[in-house]
Symmetry: C2
Subunit: 256 residues, 2 copies
Amino acid sequence: MEIRRLALLIEYDGAAFHGFQEQGNIRTVQKVLTDALTELTGESDLEVYSSSRTDQGVHARGLVCHVDTACPVPVERLPMALNSHLPDDLALIKAVECQPDFHARHDATGKIYTYRYYLASARPVVWRNLAAHVFGGLDIAAMRRAIPYLTGTHDFHAFMDSNNNPRRSTIRTLEQLELQIDGQMLTLVVRGNGFLYHMVRILAGTLLYVGQGRLQPEDLPGILIARDRRKAGKTMPPQGLCLEQVFYPTNLFNGG
Amino acid sequence: MEIRRLALLIEYDGAAFHGFQEQGNIRTVQKVLTDALTELTGESDLEVYSSSRTDQGVHARGLVCHVDTACPVPVERLPMALNSHLPDDLALIKAVECQPDFHARHDATGKIYTYRYYLASARPVVWRNLAAHVFGGLDIAAMRRAIPYLTGTHDFHAFMDSNNNPRRSTIRTLEQLELQIDGQMLTLVVRGNGFLYHMVRILAGTLLYVGQGRLQPEDLPGILIARDRRKAGKTMPPQGLCLEQVFYPTNLFNGG
């Protein structure tokens, strides 16, 4: 059988996964996905490469992987075939055949993440695994005034937790930051060309502090220049974060 | 201690409950709520009366109950106090003291329900417990053209499953039906003065059939007049349904 490289568009609910990346026998997205592909294809040496390694509790509605396989199932039928081998908190949305040198991580040119805040005095119930609880109101207008300071190309060293290679560049470009309010749900949408470790969760925590009056919008240029993690806001909890979409030079999935 | 009647605004995720109404030792909302109130107050004879008896799998973001209790905790602090006795899929949002003759069910003048359809070829993952999967597209414009036929006062006998007292009136008034689309999520919002058994789920199933071209908008007057359950659409699954709000002659919770 001919080996093809497939690009896979994946959705998962991060609540019951220990993150994306395989770690022995722990229940990670990579392990459950690879096991299902192995069951379906009978190929025991499959290697799944991902655009992103989300942390424990973080969700994805449009993560992209690639894998080389001789699986003869037509790509249009692969979601149906594979999803019967996957648990209900993980699904293949779409599969396409791609160039043999396509790489899900190296070729990615940008990503959209969302971060959801649930604004209420009582803890969230229906949305408890999809949003972070914020007790009390936020000054959303102030949060929106802070956004222009973060948009564009900056050194985001202050917005990174200390897990990264210190020699790597910490300069990134954020093309879009937007706050959408719908009832008690406030959603931060961030589109950028790349993200540092915990960067979206720290951006969300910093905007939270602005909304609470603990930081002023005008403080943000100084935080960026100081490159000091301690001056930015807290790292928000993982369940509010969702990887929505990954971009490539070509429109791989025709809109997913 | 003086006995007071309290009105309770309740939120729950219906996925792991066998509906609202107590049935022996089965995990129902009424049982878990009553047990928590008993733990908090030490009163063993508490009776919780609800505005609504939702079915297994149905959610509520604004169900109203009343209970008579001598609990000395101030109502403002009751959510915090009670929620530590409740599991994470059930919470008290707000409590207020009400008139001693207030009745959560008898005094209700209207309710808002939502029904969520998830429109996609692959099954929903992140939203799997909060929406019904609809494979393939829907003609939302046709669904919207059907709405005026359902709005207003009608005999909704065709939109009721056969669990009701046959002698009870099946005339109800729907003040508002609205379809909101946000990405892949289509939400039906229904406000009415009262609802028959499974009525919202059958309304949702009938509008689905219109969206799929299996019924035409112009078929609806005939379905209402025929009073024949078999002419309406299917009863949609419970997880898409959520009781959002209950109305009373006075604004009990000041907007909740």
